[in-house]
């Protein structure tokens, strides 16, 4: 046998011992906290007694760097302590943050919070929803019935654990259903194309003999890899698929949709998404138009230089620009340096909302500018020369000639801009992660629908619920686009 397993065991023992040492200092004389099992998105904390008899609950706080005060950390969850009679124990794998007391599953109260029996001397909890690939620092703060912490919250000594350890490999999921479905779709696409080809042949359209062959690869790819996932997603919305049981999902009817509408903050996040999209598209169109008009002035010197620089936000990879803005907005970043202040722009809800919108406006203007520039160049010069001769003022030319002629570009481009802003995941995710924090399981202050759905799916692991959100978002977008196009068409008819 190679000596390696022995060394690993020894090393982990040493690690546990050293962590125990820190933990003993951390939790005061009464209690010890250790990080147990580490895995991909989950960390297990183990708390061993003796427990302060005044303890009514434990608050679990975490952060991705070492902290000593609570305001530097995020609240993760609450573990209650008390009488467990009359409460139920969930089955293994049925609840989040699975907690165990002396090896058994812990009881849960009516709200689903874990309750540790007053007699217990040791308990453990699996903290889910950690960002993978990081060192996470965790502190457990016992509080009494009045909510007063029983240890000094300004001198915390949290324990650390890594979240980049992969989960134990589960047996590969049964891939047959997906393979069969894909096969069936590919075969039916081929059948459909052959049928259309046969129809053409029957009608004697021989010139297009190869057309169906040419479009076949694209159509098959589209059917198999876009239409199939969409249908699959709609089906998922009616199932209980989540991180813990993949493969044996069950149909649960409209339960996910009910859950969506019970989400605290659903109206807030929807309202912010619309404010975000409308503010963005308005300023994109407005600024893009103004810049396009400015660059359209005949004989303007340095036009190429201006144009090239103004297109930069489009040319630079979006994630890089957003992260650069993130740096500039830090308390020691450029903006604060310019103003001579130390403001954390992303910490206050109202300010963070304004800031994320401003950054996204910065990102989107060049596309609109380029679209309008193209459209302006396509406008005939004669019209404007005629207007000039007739003594029409510049302003009237803009209102009565330029803008009506740009409408054909403006309608589709602004709809496209709306849809893009609606789905601008990167800006929010890389700037504020949806924060500032509002409540556990609730969308954050700057979350828009798509970033919240991402969180539901990939932080909490509720795939079915996320699919239900996606279906609703899609219906919202379709509804909005349809109304918008109908409205613009109506005004066109009236004009």
């Amino acid at each position: 046998m190679a000596p390696r397993p022995f060394i690993t065991v020894l090393a982990s023992w040493l690690l546990v011992l050293s962590l125990c040492a820190t933990a003993a200092q951390a939790a005061g004389p009464n209690m010890a906290v250790v990080v147990g099992e580490e895995s991909y998105r989950t960390l297990r904390i183990e708390v061993t007694g003796p427990i302060d008899p005044r303890t009514d609950a434990w608050e679990v706080w975490f952060a991705n760097r070492e902290f000593s005060r609570l305001d530097e950390a995020e609240f993760h969850s609450l573990v209650r302590r008390g009488d467990t009679s009359g409460l139920t124990r969930p089955a293994v794998g049925a609840a989040y943050d699975e907690c165990r007391v002396d090896g058994d599953m812990a009881h849960r109260d009516e709200q689903g919070r874990p309750v540790i029996s007053s007699q217990a001397t040791r308990w453990s909890c699996d903290l889910t929803g950690m960002t993978p690939g990081q060192v996470q620092w965790i502190a457990v703060v016992p509080v009494d019935a009045a909510g007063t912490p029983l240890l000094d919250v300004n001198a915390l000594q949290p324990v650390a654990g890594r979240t980049d350890v992969p989960d134990v490999r589960t047996p590969p999921p049964d891939s047959r259903p997906v393979t069969y479905a894909l096969g069936a779709i590919v075969l039916s696409a081929i059948a459909l194309l052959s049928f259309l080809r046969w129809q053409d042949a029957k009608r004697g359209r021989t010139r297009a003999r190869l057309a169906h062959l040419y479009v076949a690869p694209g159509i098959i790819a589209l059917a198999g890899l876009t239409f199939y996932p969409i249908l699959y997603g709609i089906w998922l919305a009616f199932t209980d698929a989540d991180q813990s049981h993949l493969g044996d999902t069950a149909f649960i009817g409209l339960q996910n949709f009910v859950e969506v509408f019970k989400t605290p903050g659903i109206w807030r996040v929807t309202a912010f998404t619309f404010i975000w999209s409308i503010a963005n598209v308005t300023f994109h169109v407005l600024l893009g138009l103004v810049l396009a008009l400015a660059l359209n002035r005949p004989g303007l010197k340095g036009k190429t230089v201006y144009r090239t620089i103004l297109l930069l936000p489009w040319a630079i990879p979006g994630y890089i620009s957003v992260l650069a803005w993130n740096g500039m907005l830090q308390p020691d970043g450029l903006i604060n340096g310019m103003l001579g202040t130390q403001i954390d722009f992303l910490a206050d809800a109202g300010r963070a909302r304004v800031v994320v919108i401003l950054v996204n406006i910065w990102l989107g203007v060049p596309f609109m500018m380029a679209s309008f520039s193209g459209a302006l160049q396509a406008l005939g010069k004669d019209m404007f020369e005629a207007a000039e001769v007739d003594g029409v003022s510049r302003w009237d030319q803009l209102i009565h000639l330029t803008l009506p002629n740009l409408k054909a570009t403006m309608v589709p481009v602004s709809l496209l801009g709306f849809i893009w802003s609606f789905n601008a995941f990167n800006t929010i995710y890389l700037l504020s992660r949806g924060g500032p924090y509002v409540g556990f399981g609730e969308p954050g202050a700057t979350d828009i629908l798509v970033t919240y759905v991402f969180e539901v799916a990939f932080t909490y692991g509720h795939y079915g619920l996320a699919a239900a959100w996606s279906v609703l978002i899609f219906l919202m977008l379709v509804g909005f686009s349809w109304t918008y196009l109908r409205q613009t068409r109506a005004t066109e008819a009236a004009a």
Partner: protein, 414 residues
């Protein structure tokens, strides 16, 4: 008093310009007021607000018609504005930002004062000068007014490019500043340590290799699917043409998030997470609709006469496509390839979800992981982003016209 048409319509160009410039300067000071409010400096807020009100007052003191006088009031207000601007200037440090923000008070003040002593303006507002002066003035306005407008336009565009370019300069500065500090003056220190640590480590090259494999794979697969389809839509009329074109269009409108979860599940079931193939498949399919539309637009511009001649000469349809159409439209195909490459090179969300292990990261996910992870490696991030952006930005700028044209063919007309 009898006035000629010229006399009635003549207003000196300087005053015409000020009529729109003064409100613009006031609006600018409104913005600067937000900055003072963020500083929570009562002095700065007070002075900026006073300046704003003075600018508005100046706008309404401008003589509206010839002989209206009031130039003294105008000069008094302008001097007050200069005093306010100077006071504000003395109040704070003289950083570049402060100098610029005070210039928005001092500049308009000095300009109004100087122009109020300008002979034609004086003559016009005191009502002196007869029809000849008005004729002369109108002739002068014809060259003077466009020149003033151009200057204002340049000032506006300079502000616009400043907003665009400041983050770029800042990133470049962070990349060459020692340590991982964000603050400090721009250009105060120079070091290549970040470039050395990024380019010398293995991680960056692993991410680059992943991104290159995926982007090139996407381009090849995407073109193989899109070129024949684009050609067929451009040239042939066949059963199902309209329906399938509409299908492509419909997919383009779908927000990515809707298929994100099902894609993830399908890829997980097929065991394609943390592979290059999974991302190549998904990227080439998501870029497919736009590529098909772009290529159809390009093929539409290749004249058909050549193909018809070749067909008459006995070429088969396949030969026509490979020997005539494809070589002729190579630039267009290249443009579409560039588009798919850049799209795959920059994509973040799907890569974040699909490839979660560090050695499978693509550049976007890898670079962003430098920021929230331990220690916030701002310097290394900045150096890496410069290395990653330069090729893309250069390609984009070189081919911007054709790219934008192709994109608008795909997105707007569609």
């Amino acid at each position: 008093m009898n006035q000629t048409v010229a006399q009635k319509s003549y207003v000196p160009a300087e005053l015409l310009a000020l009529r729109s410039w003064l409100p613009a300067a006031a609006a600018m000071n409104g913005l600067l007021f937000v900055g003072e409010a963020l500083r929570a400096s009562p002095g700065g807020m007070g002075l900026t607000a006073t300046g704003l009100l003075l600018l508005l007052a100046l706008r309404f003191t401008l003589p509206a018609q010839a002989g209206a006088g009031r130039l003294w009031a105008l000069r008094l207000l302008a001097m007050a504005l200069i005093a306010v601007g100077f006071g504000a200037f003395m109040l704070t440090d003289r950083t570049l930002y402060d100098v610029w923000s005070r210039a928005w008070l001092l500049g308009p003040g000095v300009l109004v004062l100087a122009w109020s002593f300008f002979a034609p303006v004086q003559a016009w507002s005191t009502g002196k000068g007869g029809p000849e002066a008005a004729e002369e003035g109108l002739a002068r306005n014809r060259t003077r007014l466009p020149r003033l407008e151009t200057r204002a336009l340049h000032l506006f565009l300079l502000h616009a490019i400043a907003v665009i370019i400041v983050p770029v300069i800042w990133i470049a500065d962070v990349a060459v500043s020692p340590g991982n500090i964000l603050g400090g003056r721009i250009g105060d220190a120079f070091t290549l340590e970040h470039f050395r640590s990024v380019l010398g480590g293995s991680q960056f090259w692993i991410w680059t290799r992943n991104s290159l494999i995926i982007a090139i794979g996407t381009t090849l697969v995407g073109l193989a699917l899109a070129v024949p389809a684009g050609y067929a839509y451009s040239r042939y009329d066949f059963a199902g043409r309209k329906g399938s074109m509409f299908a492509f269009l419909l997919v383009q409108m779908f927000p990515g998030i809707i298929i994100l979860v099902p894609y993830f599940m399908v890829m997980k079931t097929l065991g394609l997470l943390n592979t290059s193939i999974g991302l190549i498949i998904v990227y080439s399919v998501t870029a497919l609709p736009l590529c098909v539309w772009m290529l159809k637009g390009f093929f539409d511009t290749v004249p058909r006469a050549l193909e018809e001649a070749a067909l008459l000469d006995g070429c088969t349809q396949l030969e026509v496509f490979f020997r005539i159409v494809l070589p002729l439209s190579l630039p267009a195909v290249g443009m579409t390839a560039l588009f798919s490459f850049i799209a795959a090179w920059n994509e973040f969300l799907l890569a974040l979800v699909f490839n979660t292990s560090n050695d499978r990261y693509t550049l976007p996910v890898g670079l962003s992981s430098m920021i929230p992870a331990n220690g916030q490696l701002w310097g290394d991030f900045a150096a890496a982003s410069i290395v990653v952006s330069i090729p893309v930005v250069v390609l984009f700028m070189l081919f911007q016209r054709s790219l934008i044209q192709g994109l608008s063919a795909g997105s707007v007309k569609g």
